[in-house]
């Protein structure tokens, strides 16, 4: 177990010039010992590259990887003593479940008694004790992936366990079960876990800290509520949440902040901000308002969908910008074609400039480096 510090950049091509040449733009990051982290982002954002750099399967083209302050950039995965679980189950076909689980220990010359004990414990944890003598090749995909997980967890002394979208091939109802299992294992073993996924629910339920990535950049590191309440980058805003944050073109005038020709905040702009800005508000925080309420804008309702636990309202304002709202089913829901007033200014409203958060709930955002 160790603390992992990254200060690096990576390009698969030699001689990177533009930002697009980099798989990972220069970044600094720390994974604390015993933490549960998720790397979240769309396909191709560099999250698997980052994971493989941490594990040592990929060597960063610049910079260093440190475990507990020791530079391990040049070391192999084996020397770094990490465990990694891949997207598709990797099992050794000719071995039984028990032999599969014992393999990482056997390769390291652990005593047979100790191996037996560890394998038994891990099998119990994964509820595979009854299958130990079955041939691994004949099992279903989720059982195979459990073996892969088990091989990752069987060593006690690992620096970290890395997961690369490990639940992709698993049925939804088993996903929940396995994820709960992982969380439980994290509590029991206090291992550093890093979990790559493109599924926000998976990331937010699994990890204490979620690292949101896009186009080779880690745009925000934070807890689930940080990412939800104060997305520091517009990408985080629309990637997290279902549906994502409403991002509306806004501008500062002498009257205050205007959206679609209506003043939504009657105050002066903070010093140094540009007139044109982007107002972000989550559909959860958009409410139906009485006409002419300060901070509300008139919209035309395009669609009102019953999603079960809530209604999803899709509307457009006078300037054409789309505003979505999540409404409770027990309130009056405007119908498609109606004109409604939506309150978009509140304590959860954020303002963005150049995709970065500059203000949230009327307060300047702290610690936002351009």
């Amino acid at each position: 177990m160790s603390r992992i510090d990254l200060d690096l950049a990576h390009a698969y091509k030699p001689n990177p010039q533009a930002d697009d040449d980099y798989a990972l733009l220069p970044l600094k990051m720390t994974f604390e010992d015993g933490g549960a982290y998720a790397l979240l982002g769309p396909s191709g954002c560099g999250k698997t590259t980052l994971l493989n750099i941490v594990s040592g399967l990929v060597k960063p083209s610049q910079g260093t990887v440190k475990y507990d302050g020791v530079d391990v950039t040049a070391r192999t995965p084996q020397e770094r003593n990490i465990a990694q679980v891949f997207q598709f189950p990797v099992i050794y076909d000719t071995m039984t479940v028990a032999q599969n689980l014992a393999f990482p220990l056997r390769n390291r010359g652990v005593a047979p008694d100790r191996i037996k004990e560890r394998v038994g414990r891990i099998a119990e944890m994964l509820e595979m004790s009854h299958q130990l003598d079955a041939r691994a090749a004949g099992l279903a995909a989720d059982a195979k992936q459990k073996i892969s997980l088990g091989r990752g967890l069987v060593r006690e002394d690992v620096s970290a366990v890395l997961f690369d979208e490990p639940l992709t091939v698993i049925d939804p109802h088993l996903k929940w079960q396995l994820r709960r299992k992982l969380k439980q294992i994290h509590h029991e073993l206090k291992l550093t876990l890093i979990y790559v996924t493109h599924d926000q629910v998976e990331a937010l339920t699994f990890a204490d800290q979620v690292i949101v990535m896009t186009r080779g950049r880690a745009v925000q590191v934070g807890s689930a509520s940080d990412l939800f309440e104060r997305p520091r980058h517009t990408f985080v805003g629309h990637f997290i949440g279902s549906p994502g944050m409403n991002l509306l073109a806004a501008r500062w005038s002498e009257q205050g902040l205007e959206v679609a020709g209506r003043v939504v905040a009657g105050r002066a702009a903070a010093e140094g901000v540009k007139a044109a800005t982007l107002l972000g508000v989550r559909p959860e925080y958009v409410t139906v308002a009485v006409p002419d309420t300060p901070g509300a804008v008139p919209v035309t309702v395009d669609q009102a969908q019953d999603i079960g636990t809530y209604w999803l309202l899709t509307t457009h304002a006078a300037d054409g910008s789309r505003i979505r709202a999540r409404l409770h089913p027990h309130q009056a829901i405007p119908r498609a074609g109606d004109t409604a007033w939506l309150q978009i200014n509140g304590p959860h409203t954020c303002l963005y400039e150049n995709e970065l958060l500059i203000e949230s709930g009327g307060q300047p955002a702290r610690g936002v480096a351009a």
Binding site: S55, L57, T76, P77, Q78, I82, A83, Q84, F86, Q87, F88, P89, V90, Y92, D93, T94, M95, F103, P104, N107, R108, A137, G138, L139, A140, A141, K144, S148, R151
Partner: protein, 294 residues
């Protein structure tokens, strides 16, 4: 009641005719020969199973059969491991892999009789590169006089000619293994040997079965190369089954025994085919069961 349409019979008629002329009629001719003693084109005597009895008691045939089995086993024992080793050593990516693939495949493009001729000259002790070199090294190599040398030369020729096929099949099998397996093995701390034993070899099982089957059947029917190289000699040391058969049928014109022997040969091949096919099928279904989950 459903009307019965007999037109389908008409549709398969071309196939029936083709198969009749290409397989059934020649086979029946052989059956015909095997139960008669043909003394001259218009004098023949029905002899029943006499030829079969005679052939079954033929010591030369037994010797050829044993020689054949030994040869086929030797071919498999050398070519399969060598092919695997070759495939493992071949580069996986880039122009080097293309270049090596072409180089390796060259021997497969050479016709059988040319292969025999190449080795006939190659092994000559006066002008052949191999023969002369071995002589220079002080080895009394002579494939035309020494039965063991002849046998080894025929084996070496087959290894040179056909190991590339095994190598190419294994190469294809190796390339089909996802990178994640190697990465997982590296993380599990597996040695190179363990990677081979637990990942590469099991994943190559399918292609290896094909390689074994092809090389076994081919070597079991080998004719042209030893015929050109040694003519079956010295003595009978490199006379394999098909050559023995040809000697009987065409050389001595013993049509009856040759026909009887052909049928036995045919049955042996059929039996071995059946065994290998069933084996492959079984391995195939196990593999399928694996991949459908993976």
């Amino acid at each position: 009641m459903k009307p019965v349409n007999q037109k389908a019979w008409l549709m398969i008629l071309p196939v029936v005719i083709c198969v009749a002329f290409s397989a059934i009629l020649p086979l029946m001719t052989v059956v015909n020969y095997s139960v008669q003693d043909i003394i001259s084109p218009d004098r023949r005597v029905f002899v029943g199973t006499d030829w079969f009895k005679q052939v079954m008691r033929d010591d030369d045939l037994h010797a050829a059969l044993i020689r054949q089995i030994g040869y086929s086993l030797a071919v498999l024992l050398v070519e399969i491991p060598l092919g695997i080793a070759l495939a493992l050593a071949m580069p996986a990516k880039g122009w080097r892999s293309s270049a090596v693939l072409v180089l390796v495949a060259i021997s497969l493009l050479i016709p059988w009789n040319v292969v025999g001729t190449i080795w006939q000259i190659y092994g000559r002790t006066d002008i052949g590169l191999l023969g002369a070199t071995l002589q220079k090294l002080g080895l009394d190599y002579d494939y035309t006089g020494n039965p063991r040398h002849a046998w080894l030369t025929v084996l070496a020729m087959d290894v040179w000619h056909w190991t590339p096929l095994v190598a190419l099949l294994c190469y294809a099998g190796l390339r089909a293994i996802p990178d994640a397996y190697y990465q997982a093995a590296s993380i599990d701390g597996a040695s190179k040997l363990a990677v081979f034993r637990y990942i590469q070899l099991p994943k190559m099982r399918g292609v290896l079965m094909i390689a074994v089957l092809l090389r076994f059947m081919d070597s079991f029917m080998i004719y042209t190369e030893p015929f050109v190289l040694t003519g079956g000699g010295p003595g009978n040391s490199t006379t394999f089954l098909s050559q023995y058969l040809t000697q009987k049928a065409v050389g001595q014109f013993d049509l009856g025994p040759a026909a009887a022997f052909s049928l036995i040969y045919f049955l042996i091949i059929l039996l071995l085919c059946f065994i290998l096919y069933t084996w492959m099928q079984r391995v195939g279904t196990v593999n399928e069961g694996e991949t459908s989950h993976g």
